[in-house]
């Protein structure tokens, strides 16, 4: 098979599966069969992309294949196709690996759902692989945008999977609105880019005077999709979706699309140094704010969601420091361990039928395997030495230091400590806390769930070793070396873990850090800000406009109509009915005629 057909196969198999499930409703309604089909194609997809990655590792040069899509005066202005190089091949492998794991996991996790719903679930998962694959393989920004929107659609559909639940409906719509709001920037960025260059290429920087404008607009889209403050508000709500969905879309892959965009379109961003600095700061702020928020959550998925925000902040900050590899490396490892964490959380939720970590107390004894895997993920996230997150976080921080962004670096270090602290909190309460009633009857997850977790667990532990390979794919040098920054980060992480153990594990310390802060965070200040903008801004404006249209504009039009009716009514008084008036009218007409004759004759 050629490289091209391999890459097309990666997209084509899940697409075929989606179309089949969408159209053949008996198959979809069969539930499990649909699941196996979908998971099978996902695994096949992964196999294909692994083969693709192997080829690229083997020295295969970049490959671009496109078909024209839009024309302008007979000239093609947009193309669809695939672009295979080190970045896309590696990202594609990550995406398909996580996707395949999650789908296999879902076979177990979703087994108790009604059959048609299972079919629907897997159909959308297949669609997601197509969309995400299209995004990764995009040869230009336009296809990236198209796929970007499609993954947004999948996100909307999957968050709203339990559509009879009002909260799920709200969360789905919210996610769509917020990301679409940000996408306005992305779309406008594309438009401006096209206006300046006549194409959608991400290879070359936008010319003056839009050099900074274009990447800035693109970055607005990134902020939405990758949940940067203050547009992160949709991500915690998105946890309304089934947990595997959270693992795949809202932790590992889709939310990382923003980071991927910056990586892909880096020539554009590179030309705007001010924007890069902004990204470094914003990423760092996001990382810290989200980490702080994660500390006070009791819902295990919410903790992980804020953690995702926080880690995305790391990536963005790393990109802002000018280090593509820093951001991208962390993206990769994060994909593995965060997916693992979610799947582990899913296993726990599956066991106790509750999201609250307090309901999970004592699961360590009931579900040992899951617990071990979850803890491995948590350690990776906390940046425990030699776990995957350790290496990638270290690289990101090193690069920030290298670029001289000391402010963001400080924030990120603080966030690193908090990360370790809140993960310790979760582990301590959920697995080692006092046994809860709900956990009493917990059972270990089935093999379909454990196997994917094990795969991801391996990567979460050992994924940090892939740094060199990744760098090689990009043709960049990478050598791990522990610098003072790395040591500081490690110490902060260990400190966080230690503090967590003291606070929640041994309970030898029961104080409260900043007591007022907890209430403030739980009140959701950013959410309230947007809610206020919605309730006091957009809705009243819409109401006013609607009212204005119905009662003023339309009223004016009606007034014209009534004016004629009224004129018709009034003028009817002229027709008196008296015969002599009729004759009078004739004679007045005559007089008027003669008067005209006199005037006209004079003139």
């Amino acid at each position: 098979m050629t490289t091209l057909s391999l890459s097309l196969a990666v997209l084509g198999m899940p697409l075929a599966c989606f179309v089949l499930l969408a159209l053949a409703w008996p198959l979809r309604h069969a539930g499990r069969v649909a699941g196996w089909l979908s998971a099978g194609t996902a695994v096949a997809s992964f196999a294909a992309s692994a083969a693709l990655l192997a080829r690229v590792l083997g020295g295969q040069g970049p490959l671009t294949w496109t078909v024209p899509w839009l024309v302008h005066g007979g000239r093609t202005i947009a193309e669809l196709g695939v672009h295979v190089d080190g970045i896309s091949a590696s990202m594609l492998a990550v995406v398909t690996l996580v996707a395949a794991s999650v789908q296999v996991y879902s076979l177990g996790y979703m087994a108790s759902e009604p059959k048609p719903d299972q079919g629907r679930y897997f159909a959308w998962h297949s669609l997601f692989i197509v969309a995400m694959g299209g995004l990764v393989l995009a040869p230009d920004l336009l296809q990236l945008f198209l796929a970007w929107e499609l993954v947004g659609l999948c996100s909307y559909l999957l968050i709203g999977f339990y559509w009879t639940k009002p909260s799920a409906g709200r969360a789905a719509v919210k996610a769509f609105w917020v990301t679409k709001f940000a996408d306005m920037g992305l779309l406008l960025g594309l438009v401006v880019l096209y206006g300046a260059t006549g194409a959608f290429s991400f290879e070359q920087a936008a010319p003056d005077p839009v050099t900074t404008l274009v990447p800035a607009l693109l970055f607005v889209g990134v902020m939405g999709k990758s949940a940067q403050v203050p547009l992160h508000i949709w991500l915690p709500d998105a946890m309304e979706g089934p947990t595997p969905v959270s693992a795949l879309l809202h932790a590992a892959t889709m939310v990382a699309a923003g980071v991927f965009l910056v990586v892909r379109a880096y020539p554009l961003f590179e030309a705007a140094p001010a924007l890069l600095t902004f990204m470094a700061w914003l990423g760092a702020i996001t990382a810290l704010v989200a980490a702080v928020t994660a500390v006070v959550q009791d819902d295990i998925k919410k903790v992980l969601a804020y953690s995702t925000c926080s880690q995305l902040g790391y990536m963005v900050a790393a990109l802002g420091s000018g280090s593509l590899l820093g951001g991208y490396f962390h993206l990769t490892t994060h994909a593995f361990f965060k997916a693992l964490l979610f799947l582990g959380a899913g296993a726990a939720i599956h066991a106790v039928h509750s999201n609250s970590i307090h309901d999970m107390g004592g699961l360590w004894t009931k579900t040992r395997a899951s617990a071990v895997l979850f803890i491995a993920g948590a350690l990776a996230l906390a940046g425990f030495p030699l776990f995957a997150g350790f290496f990638s976080k270290d690289l990101a921080l090193e690069e920030l230091a290298h670029a001289g962004h000391w402010g963001p670096l400080g924030l990120l270090l603080a966030a690193a400590g908090l990360t370790a602290f809140y993960m310790t909190r979760v582990v301590a309460i959920a697995f080692f806390g006092p046994p809860s009633e709900k956990a009493a009857h917990a059972h270990e997850a089935p093999a379909t769930m454990l196997l994917p977790m094990a795969v991801l667990g391996l990567l979460a532990v050992g994924g940090g070793l892939s740094g060199g390979t990744l760098a090689g794919l990009w043709g960049q040098p990478y050598h791990f070396a522990l610098t003072p920054v790395g040591i500081a980060a490690t110490l902060v992480g260990l400190g966080g873990i230690g503090l967590g153990v003291l606070r929640y594990g041994t309970r030898s310390w029961t104080g409260d850090l900043l007591p007022g802060l907890r209430a403030f965070i739980l009140s959701g200040p950013v959410d309230r800000f947007w809610l206020g903008a919605w309730r006091q801004g957009l809705l009243p404006v819409a109401r006013a406009v609607g009212w204005f249209d119905r009662y003023v504009i339309d009223g004016l039009i009606n007034l014209v109509g009534v004016a004629f009716l009224d004129a018709g009514r009034r003028v009817r008084a002229l027709q008196t009915g008296r015969a002599q008036d009729y004759v009078l009218a004739v004679l007045l007409g005559v007089v008027a005629f003669v008067a005209w004759g006199v005037v006209g004759g004079a003139g």
């Binding site: 018709g568 002229l574 027709q575 004739v586 005629f593 006209g600 004759g601």
Partner: protein, 484 residues
């Protein structure tokens, strides 16, 4: 044998039909009373209708261009065209009257049709009259029978009142016109229109008296066509008079009036165009505006059609005011489109209002009671409103086109806007027929009435789908008049 008598062929044919009707009525009148049968009585009307239709067909074999009575009467293409329209109106009028006359005025069919035919005789003479005295006589020959016909429903207050109003305004207008004509004669010293035209062309200055005469005459003409402010009799008379007669009244005298106006003002006093032309436009605008506004709130369908007719007169006057061969041609075409449209509408109104109720509630649910009648009426309404594929569309739009080319953009704008207003009241009728009301018994339609309605429909649709021969013929007729 008078030389050139064939020029008078159409009036003579009408006269022959009238005489035949007279004789037939004498015969039938006796037989009818004895046998108390409707058939023979209806035969009188049928004879009139068939006779007029025959005359109409016969006009295609007439030699065009003849003169008679020393040039007082001419059969030029214009006269022939107008005579055809009049014959058509007369034939349709007779055909559509048969049922109604038989039902409403049993035994008086001779009276009715004779009066109608003599009025028609006056009209056909008018079409070719190029002499003032002949003009006056023909006018009165046309007008006086109309008074009588309008008063035919003498057992109804509305009938008598409408007739009286028609009569009073008519008599006053006639006198005013005569007064004006007396000045025309007095100043020019001749009653021959071509001679007047020649004199004017040679630079004879008529002075103020001539202008006075012309304007008085114009006022008199205004009554015949029913232009504002000489229009006030129109709705009342339409309401009171027998409906099939109104169908005839709403088109025949108007055609004749325009024929006379063309003869008098274009052929005779064309050189004084600057004097009368602005007044025509004023009449036109006034008629369009007032007619449309008055029609808005009308619940009486005959009155509604009356006011809408007045606004149509405004458009016809606009065409007349153009006084170009295209403008006149379109005036002729407009008349051709207007005759079947308006008559058809009145014929349907007659069927619907046969119990004496002509208000909109009587029309409710017509489309359910009788889909055919409802559909046909809709076509007539759309034609009146100028919607394709109906004759009125071409008439309206082509007229606007000609007016635009003559530089009257503002009036076109006004007319086009008023056409929208007009659609409002036409659609009110459509609404009553199609949207409101319930089903029920279809109103009975006699065979002659059905035939008349069908002919009108054919005319409206035919002109709407294939207007070309009619447009070309109308423009040719007008061109011959102006060129000659």
């Amino acid at each position: 044998m008078i030389p050139g008598i064939e020029a008078l062929a159409v009036p003579l044919l009408v006269l022959a039909v009238a005489l035949a009707v007279l004789v037939a009525d004498l015969v039938v009148g006796e037989a009818g009373e004895a046998e108390a049968e409707h058939g023979p009585r209806r035969g009188v009307g049928a004879l009139a209708a068939v006779g007029l239709l025959g005359a109409l067909v016969a006009t295609w074999w007439l030699p065009v261009g003849g003169e008679v009575l020393g040039g007082a009467f001419v059969l030029d293409p214009f006269a022939l065209y107008m005579q055809r329209i009049m014959l058509l109106a007369g034939a349709l009028g007779c055909l559509g009257s048969i049922d109604h006359v038989d039902r409403a005025f049993p035994g008086r069919q001779g009276e009715y049709f004779l009066l109608l035919l003599s009025s028609l005789l006056g009209m056909t003479v008018l079409a070719g009259a190029r002499e003032l005295v002949l003009l006056v006589v023909a006018f009165e020959l046309m007008g006086i029978p109309l008074y009588a016909l309008a008063a035919l429903q003498k057992r109804q207050d509305a009938g008598v009142e409408g007739a009286l109003k028609l009569y009073l305004t008519g008599a006053a207008s006639s006198v005013v016109m005569l007064y004006g004509l007396s000045f025309l004669y007095g100043v020019t010293g001749t009653t021959s229109l071509p001679e007047i035209a020649r004199g004017l062309a040679q630079g004879v200055d008529g002075g103020p008296l001539l202008a006075l005469g012309l304007l008085l005459t114009l006022a008199g003409m205004g009554f015949k066509v029913g232009a504002v402010p000489f229009h006030m009799w129109v709705p009342d008379t339409y309401q009171g008079a027998p409906t099939p007669f109104v169908a005839f009244l709403s088109v025949g005298p108007k055609a004749a009036g325009f024929a006379a106006m063309v003869r008098l003002f274009v052929e005779g006093f064309g050189p004084l165009r600057d004097l009368w032309w602005p007044l025509i436009l004023v009449l036109s605008v006034a008629s369009m505006v007032l007619g449309s506004l008055m029609a808005i709130g009308q619940d009486h369908v005959k009155r509604l059609l009356a006011w809408s007719g007045i606004s149509h007169i405004g458009l016809l006057l606009l065409a007349f005011g153009l006084a170009s061969d295209q403008g006149l041609g379109l005036l002729l075409f407009y008349l051709a489109a207007y005759v079947p449209t308006n008559m058809g509408a009145f014929f349907v109104a007659q069927v619907v209002g046969r119990d004496g109720d002509d208000t909109l509630p009587a029309w409710q649910g017509l489309a359910r009671r009788s889909p055919a009648l409802g559909g046909v009426m809709l076509v007539f309404l759309l034609s009146l409103g100028g919607i394709p594929f109906a004759a009125g569309f071409w008439a309206k739009v082509l007229l606007f086109w000609a007016a635009w080319q003559a530089g009257m953009g503002a009036i076109v704008l006004l007319g086009a806007s008023l056409a929208v207003l007009a659609l409002f009241f036409y659609l009110r009728v459509a609404r009553a027929m199609f949207i409101e009301g319930q089903g029920g018994q279809a109103p009975p339609v006699g065979l002659p009435t059905a035939a008349a309605i069908l002919l009108c429909l054919l005319g409206v649709v035919g002109l709407g789908v294939w207007p070309r021969p009619f447009v070309d013929a109308a423009i040719a007729a007008a061109g011959a008049l102006l060129g000659g």
